[in-house]
């Protein structure tokens, strides 16, 4: 990521939104995952969950910084993280849902990291060289997240009656939100056109191929399809998002212009 390699002009507004959406996914899921620090079932998981949250927040910083440059309105990572309202955030709804319990937490990371991994793989050859550099760094992190969360999904699915019940309940709850990953969008069209990144809708088959064997190994059954489509990536979020932002943004909001 040398100065030379940094792309500072967006090929289209869709390009900016594409990068911002990825940054928001990482930020919001990082914020949620960090809630576990100090409260995990076992000390090793306090460490592992903090690790994953740190990776995600690190990715968010790079992606939002890059999105801000592409946008060219002088917004840095913090302006984007702390000064936008709900509708301006473009993360997948899945990322903002409450942790609930360890099963939902790990299953969410398992589902999301497998999606993110596919994106990073494609983005290695992005025409946006900065985005390609971010992908090269982040892909190793996503592999670890997929591995660690996947191991837990299997442990929980296979473990005890209670852990199986919780893992299945987590899957039943989260599964409907995964359809949002693949809804076509204008930003995707523009980004794909310019060679910035893939249409997210084209990743569905590969994602299912990565997710199904995991769920099978964990002996979890796939919920029946539902017509519901969440819309977080278009700026229409769940009720949880406002609370998450109220907490995350509070200091910047009550001390406008202060530096930290």
């Amino acid at each position: 990521m040398t100065e030379m390699a940094q792309q500072t002009t967006a090929t289209s507004p869709g390009h900016v939104e594409y990068v911002m959406r990825m940054g928001d996914n990482a930020l919001i899921l990082g914020q949620r995952t960090a809630e576990w620090c100090g409260h995990s079932p076992v000390l090793e998981e306090d460490m592992a969950l903090a690790n994953m949250a740190l990776d995600l927040i690190g990715q968010a910083r790079m992606l939002l910084t890059h999105a801000g440059r592409l946008e060219g309105r002088g917004r840095d990572e913090d302006a984007l993280a702390f000064q936008r309202n709900e509708p301006a955030f473009r993360n997948l709804t899945l990322c903002e849902l409450p942790n609930e319990d360890f099963a939902r937490t790990m299953l969410r990371i398992a589902l999301f990291s497998r999606f993110q991994l596919l994106l990073w793989e494609r983005l290695l050859s992005s025409t946006d060289s900065e985005l390609a550099a971010i992908a090269a760094k982040s892909i190793k992190e996503a592999r670890y997240h997929a591995q660690h969360s996947g191991d837990w999904v299997v442990r929980l699915g296979d473990g005890t009656e209670e852990s199986h019940r919780r893992a299945q309940a987590a899957l039943d709850y989260l599964w409907p939100y995964t359809a949002e990953f693949f809804i076509p969008s204008a930003a995707d069209e523009a980004a794909a056109e310019a060679g910035v990144g893939p249409l997210w809708s084209t990743l569905e088959a590969d994602w299912e191929a990565a997710v199904r064997p995991l769920l099978e190994e964990a002996m979890l059954s796939l919920p029946a399809p539902v017509p519901f489509r969440s819309q977080g990536k278009f700026g229409r979020h769940s009720e949880h998002m406002g609370h998450l932002l109220a907490e995350m943004q509070y200091l910047q909001r009550i001390h406008p212009g202060a530096r930290w």
Binding site: A34, G38, R61, A258
Partner: protein, 334 residues
């Protein structure tokens, strides 16, 4: 490996049994090693009282790291920038890592982490009472790094040369990270002090609340301390409470000047004759109240640890059950 870490075997099979305490030859060997400034290792014979003292001290230290994750953890979700969020999260994670090294050191003395955890959760074991104070503003995070990690370093540097090898080695690693924490805390405060009036007030308020509890971290005055004599003989305690406290105060006054904050002690002034700062009377009644469970957060901190443990029971059980099943499946396949 996770399942093993939950309950380690009790005894190094090659070690001499610790119950045979009355062997003059072994005692002489032990004394000679201590006198020569050498390390006692898990396989070595040691007096039972030495082992017990170490278990108590190391486990209290481990519990302090774990409970200490809570007050600063209180600000992770509200950190004001992404960089500060990452720094704070990494710091709290480090404290968890310190807990892990220390539990591992305690386990070399034949106690399991599960047993020690149980002692904490049942309220039998103590942890540093500094963590029973609340974190009320973002500046508390910086002040904890500066003063609390700072005091911890003063207390812990002598332990890097403690006579018990595994404890000493854990402390070397921990001290490196603690001094990093202290610098980060100071840096966060410097930034705030260069900020708005409201930010400077936030820092001063946090300093007012944390100063006295921080200097209480060194424990009772030497004249009132139990254990000290024997622990010094054993090479577990190398510098007295009052000497450490004085050293900390002398170093901190200058840092407070750099920051531009006032330490809340009107009697704090340089004593030319002593070559140290004089300071006011410590409120030991408050100290003992908090130690004995009557600080603002004692109940909440322990409740948070219990909740994490109880809510996590099904997860730990699932991991064990899966490991069992996987082992049985592997056996059946072989």
């Amino acid at each position: 490996m996770y399942t093993q870490a939950l309950d380690l075997p009790q005894q190094n099979p090659e070690g001499r049994p610790p119950s045979l305490a009355e062997n003059p030859a072994w005692q002489a060997e032990f004394d000679a090693k201590i006198d020569a400034g050498g390390f006692i290792e898990p396989k070595d014979w040691m007096p039972e009282a030495y082992r017990k003292t170490l278990v108590r001290q190391i486990s209290q230290h481990a519990h302090s790291e774990i409970v200490g994750m809570l007050p600063e953890g209180n600000w992770i979700s509200r950190a004001p920038t992404l960089k500060r969020k990452a720094i704070l999260l990494a710091k709290v994670q480090d404290e968890g890592g310190h807990g892990l090294y220390l539990y591992a050191a305690a386990e070399t003395l034949g106690v399991s982490r599960d047993k020690l955890t149980d002692a904490l959760l049942s309220g039998r074991a103590k942890y540093s009472s500094i963590f029973n104070y609340p974190t009320l503003s973002w500046a508390d995070v910086g002040v904890i790094g500066w003063l609390v990690d700072g005091a911890a370093i003063m207390n812990q540097i002598p332990l890097c040369k403690c006579s018990y090898g595994p404890y000493a080695r854990a402390m070397v690693r921990i001290c490196k990270e603690e001094s990093f924490h202290q610098r980060q805390g100071f840096d966060a405060l410097l930034q705030l002090m260069q900020g708005t009036e409201a930010q400077r007030e936030m820092v001063q308020d946090a300093v007012n609340r944390w100063w006295w509890p921080s200097i209480m971290m060194f424990g009772p005055h030497d004249s009132d301390s139990t254990h000290t004599g024997q622990n010094t003989r054993w090479g577990i305690k190398r510098i007295s409470n009052d000497d450490l406290r004085q050293k900390f105060i002398d170093a901190t006054v200058k840092q407070a000047e750099v920051l531009g904050v006032t330490l809340p002690d009107p009697e704090l002034k340089w004593n030319e004759q002593r070559g140290h700062y004089d300071f006011g009377r410590i409120d030991w009644e408050e100290f003992w109240n908090v130690v004995n469970g009557h600080g603002q957060c004692n109940v909440d901190r322990l409740a948070a640890r219990r909740k994490a443990w109880d809510d996590g029971a099904w997860v730990r059980e699932a991991a064990m059950a899966h490991a069992d099943k996987a082992a049985r499946r592997a056996q059946a396949a072989a």
